[in-house]
């Protein structure tokens, strides 16, 4: 139950990060969305033994962390959350795949371990890039990008309202949880007989609250549209930002940079 308090904190934390005023924060959200998606597709498109090719991809998060002034440790901590899933599903790789794979010259490794490590690197890179997107962009701008690419109004509004109501609801749950634990002090978790009534109560309360909020919105002139003041135009810097990243991604995808650098340096 402690993680409910945590998630309220998480949401606020990422919200606050996204309020900063840096180069990356000021890039058009649509461009950032495209760059992030391309990065993820690029990362997962590498072959399962291709650790070396993957390495240059680390440059993208490093630059965004610094230019966006995003603290590293909190994001890294959140990134590790997904690791158990990937570790669990990938553990069969070293067991099932006993092929010998040549790394360089005469240095070989069991393919399963290589692909396991590649999988872990890929999952860390993809998760970090998604978290960096939200912590440099924020929900409002994501929504702005969504409506700009003509995603249906219902979906956009649903997305925004769900996000807004989460903190309302989490507070409600904390209240219920406090009340319950005060009445049942020595109990671990919620007794199964109370699950239905407690969740049901929460639901009905939320339902009523939603109605009141809606009435309030209508009284203030809500008719299904959100109006924004900010300018959504794509500027030159936005396009440059996008083009530069895409060029970098293409470069990294088509040339094995570590191998190339190595050959140049050693003259082989």
């Amino acid at each position: 139950m402690a993680n409910i308090g945590n998630s309220t904190y998480e949401l606020r934390y990422l919200d606050e990060l996204s309020q900063k005023d840096t180069l990356v924060h000021n890039i058009h959200p649509l461009i950032k969305l495209i760059v992030s998606l391309s990065y993820i597709v690029l990362a997962v498109s590498y072959g399962k033994y291709d650790i070396m090719g993957l390495l240059p991809l680390i440059i993208y998060p490093i630059i965004i962390f610094n230019l966006g002034d995003i603290p590293f440790l909190p994001i890294a901590k959140r990134t590790l959350i997904v690791l158990p899933l990937v570790l669990g599903l990938g553990i069969f790789n070293p067991i099932m795949d006993r092929n010998l794979v040549t790394l360089f010259g005469n240095f070989s490794l069991i393919g399963g371990w290589l692909s396991y490590i590649t999988l872990i690197i890929k999952s860390l890179l993809t998760v970090v890039s998604a978290l960096l997107l939200i912590s440099t962009t924020g929900i409002e701008k994501i929504i702005q990008a969504m409506s700009q690419i003509k995603i249906s109004k219902i979906i956009v509004m649903q997305f925004l309202l769900t996000y807004r109501y989460i903190s309302v609801l989490l507070e409600e749950i904390t209240n219920i949880w406090t009340a319950y634990s005060l009445r049942a002090p020595a109990q671990k978790g919620i007794h199964y007989q109370s699950w239905g009534p407690l969740l049901g109560q929460l639901l009905i309360r939320s339902y009523d609250r939603a109605q009141r909020i809606y009435n309030g919105m209508v009284l203030r002139g809500f008719n299904g549209d959100f109006y924004r003041l900010n300018n959504n135009k794509l500027l030159f810097k936005d396009i440059t930002y996008g083009v530069l990243w895409i060029l970098f991604f293409l470069l990294v995808r088509f040339y094995n940079i570590p191998m190339l650098l190595g050959s140049i340096m050693t003259g082989v």
Binding site: K48, F107, T126, M157, F159, L161, Y165, I204, M259
Partner: protein, 333 residues
């Protein structure tokens, strides 16, 4: 059971995105047709409700594993299938963005796994049929219990298929299925009981909430049309993204190889040939992963190629040094 980005290939991810987008646009159309304005904030709060409920992890007795509810069937029962699906999609999008649960590329797959089977399969076929005659407490309980379990079983199986088609892990099909289905049966039973308890509670306290969501049944947009559009979108996206296809045997080929003795099923003629020809022509990306198996053994017998090995190591070190210095420079900035 959220899929992660790293476990999925662009082809599978893209195809699932296309499919989920198709289903979503169908449900948006349906919601717009019979839009009750009051439903919009209700959808928002229900999304937040399920979002919060998904955070509570139950321990599954005797397995050491834990799971959380999907909530799709609860949404379908309280909001109707179309609004339920949209709500599910927005919950998963928020989770992917803010909590790194699931991923952006895997979002389509997750929406399909958790939203489609519950809202468009379990809800109309099971729940609806059970409560069709009359709404009683027992019928509602049984209906929501069964549809939660079955919806989750389909979702779990879908995760297995997507993982295998992606071939990022070496998990054999049968082992994976044997792992996933029973554990999700256990989770499904817990989810079923919980959903049933909540729905019957709401039925007792506020029967009108349940009635208002279940009056209308689909008419207008035909399923056939939607299915055709979905199919076209899937083939299109799959075709484009198969440029990225790796030539390493993937998980599915691997399991086929074990069963049949050959890595590919014998298929001939017609659309299959056309498609594989097309794929050969469009696959322009060079496959430069490391050499595998027999080639590797031959190579290790050959004279040591010190040059390549050295340049590999130097290259890796240089890349890392480059990355670090870029980090330092941009930090200054």
């Amino acid at each position: 059971m959220h899929m992660a980005d790293a476990l999925i290939t662009p082809i599978v991810g893209g195809a699932m995105w296309a499919t989920s987008t198709g289903v979503a646009s169908y449900s948006v159309k349906k919601v717009q047709q019979d839009l009750d304005e009051k439903k919009i904030p209700l959808m928002g709060i229900m999304g937040a409700f399920v979002f919060a409920a998904q955070m509570i992890n139950f321990t599954i007795p005797g397995t050491g594993s834990s799971g959380h509810i999907g909530g799709g069937i609860l949404l379908a029962i309280l909001l109707g299938p179309h609004a339920g699906f949209i709500t599910m999609a927005s919950i998963l999008a928020i989770q992917a963005l803010f909590f790194a649960d699931g991923g952006l590329l895997a979002l389509g797959a997750n929406i399909f796994n958790l939203g489609f089977y519950t809202c468009y399969l379990a809800y109309p076929l099971i729940y609806k049929n059970i409560v069709k005659k009359e709404m009683t407490k027992t019928r509602i309980f049984v209906g929501s219990f069964l549809s939660a379990i079955i919806g989750l079983q389909f979702g779990a199986f879908s995760v297995v298929l997507e993982t295998l088609f992606s071939g990022k892990t070496e998990l054999p099909f049968n082992i994976f299925v044997l792992m996933m289905q029973p554990i999700h049966l256990a989770i499904g039973i817990v989810e079923g009981l919980l959903t049933a308890a909540v729905v019957t509670f709401v039925w007792n306290a506020r029967p009108e909430i349940l009635q208002s969501s279940s009056v209308k049944i689909s008419n207008g947009v035909s399923y056939k049309k939607v299915m055709v559009i979905l199919l076209c979108a899937t083939v299109f996206i799959g075709g484009i993204l198969s440029w990225y296809a790796s030539s390493n045997p993937d998980g599915l080929e691997w399991s086929i190889e074990n069963v049949m003795g050959t890595p590919e099923l014998e298929t001939s003629g017609g659309i299959y040939d056309t498609l594989s020809n097309l794929q050969e022509k469009t696959a322009f990306l060079p496959d430069y992963s490391f050499k595998i198996d027999s080639e590797a053994k031959i190579e290790s017998n050959s004279p040591i190629n010190g040059g390549t090995s050295l340049s590999g190591i130097v290259g890796i070190l240089l890349t890392l040094a480059f990355a670090t210095s870029i980090g330092l420079i941009s930090y200054r900035y």
